[in-house]
Amino acid sequence: MRFLDTLDGYSSDNPVVQGYEWLTDPQNWQGPSGIPVRTVEHLGYTGLTLLIALAIAVPIGLYVGHTGRGRVVVIALAGILRALPTLGLLTLFVLLAGLGLMPPIWALVLLAVPPILGGTYAGISSVSPDAVDAARSMGMTEAQILFRVEVPNGLAVILGGFRAGVLQVVATVAVVAYIDLGGLGRFLIDGLAVSDYGRVFGGAVVIAVLAITIDAVLAGLQRLAISPGLRDSRQQPGDWQTGSEPVTAGVQGGNP
């Protein structure tokens, strides 16, 4: 390994070995800058961002999906927001609004809104118009149609967008450490600053494991939330090959 040979504290200059030693050092698992506290910070930023993003994206997505109004605007806006560089937004918000918790959170909200909004809109508009017409002809009000027909039927896609948004935020919160906030990214940024590659590698592994765990939990919840009736009736013969799995992060193109 052609790493800088700062051996201090480690038994090898191999970053994998150093990372393992860093991860198994009990000292890194306690105190205000230990892995558990950093993980809680990471999840805290993620949760706060998602709450705000959901409050913005879901109502708009439901409205646009149900009425079909403003479809073009939403799609164009989501495309532009997706192309915006994460790091650029974060630094811009900090320079405009100063350090502290909220400026980076707002930048993260901007990143989380497109996948959630896109997923909600796509989910609602993917529901068969026949089902909607049937509901209307039975005398359901528009609100009933939305919440009893369109939302349950489009839930797979809606949650797929939500999953992509969550992953996006979890990944980007790691970058937030660069602007003096906590979270697991601290291990990477601080480790790099002092050439402590054990900390860098160990921290990166913790972030990766956290992201994979969260995604797995969300995938499980997604499976539970979707009506079992839908799962069976939608499964037409030959349908398996076009991907019976609901829209995942990859398909949505949310970037990590």
Binding site: T86, L95, P256
Partner: protein, 220 residues
């Protein structure tokens, strides 16, 4: 604006680096994903493996992957190869899935017709299956292109130059113009690449251009 004109050469150089780091993974993923997708199509075990491996790798945050890769590849942490390999992994993970769907969506009658007129398997794949799946492939490439261009800037955090350098530098110097130029440059690159990909697709799939016209003519 004065800053931009004074540093235009520097910005252009960063644009070049940025483009290089986002386009190379795009091209590599195209070359890697197609054979993998075809393998996945014929072998279901491999399909399960490659799709789940892909979605797990895709889940790893970029910053983490950028610094894990040097430990695995034996590259230096400042090596541009780390960014390229990381973005290629994301791109392949995304592209294999959509390519499998694209290849599966081809009408089996077309394949059988090609075999009947004497196409050998490889030749048939290259001249029938592949061209017919190009629209889906290009849709995937366009998504990847945008996300790559946005992700490359994260590399600046570990010291790899791109438009991202303007962000880290601008933050340190408290200089907003630099950041705005970086964001605008990134958006411009994403837009240019998207236009290029659309043009390339139109060039490669000429049969699609006439299709909507005839469909319209029929309904009228």
């Amino acid at each position: 604006m004065a800053w931009l004109t004074a540093n235009f050469g520097y910005v252009l150089q960063l644009a070049g680096l940025h483009l290089y780091q986002s386009v190379v993974p795009l091209a590599l993923s195209f070359i890697i994903a197609i054979p993998l997708a075809q393998l996945a199509r014929v072998n279901r075990t491999f399909k399960g493996f490659i799709l789940s491996a892909g979605s797990i790798l895709y889940t790893i945050p970029s910053l983490a992957l950028f610094v894990i890769l040097p430990a695995i590849l034996g590259t230096r942490i400042l090596d541009i190869a780390n960014i390229i390999v990381a973005l290629t992994i994301y791109a392949v993970a995304l592209l294999v899935r959509s390519t499998v769907d694209a290849l599966n969506s081809i009408d089996d009658g077309i394949r059988q017709a090609a075999v009947a007129v004497g196409y050998k398997p490889l030749f048939r794949f290259l001249t029938v299956d592949l061209p017919l799946s190009l629209p889906v492939l290009f849709a995937g490439l366009r998504v990847i292109s945008v996300s790559n261009i946005s992700l490359v800037s994260v590399g600046a955090l570990i010291g790899i130059s791109s438009f991202g350098t303007l962000f880290t530098d601008g933050l340190q110097r408290d200089f907003i113009t630099e950041i705005v130029v970086g964001i605008a440059g990134t958006l411009l690159l994403a837009l240019l690449m998207d236009i290029l990909l659309v043009l390339l697709q139109r060039l490669l799939t000429p049969w699609l251009r006439s299709a909507p016209a005839t469909a319209g003519a029929v309904t009228v």
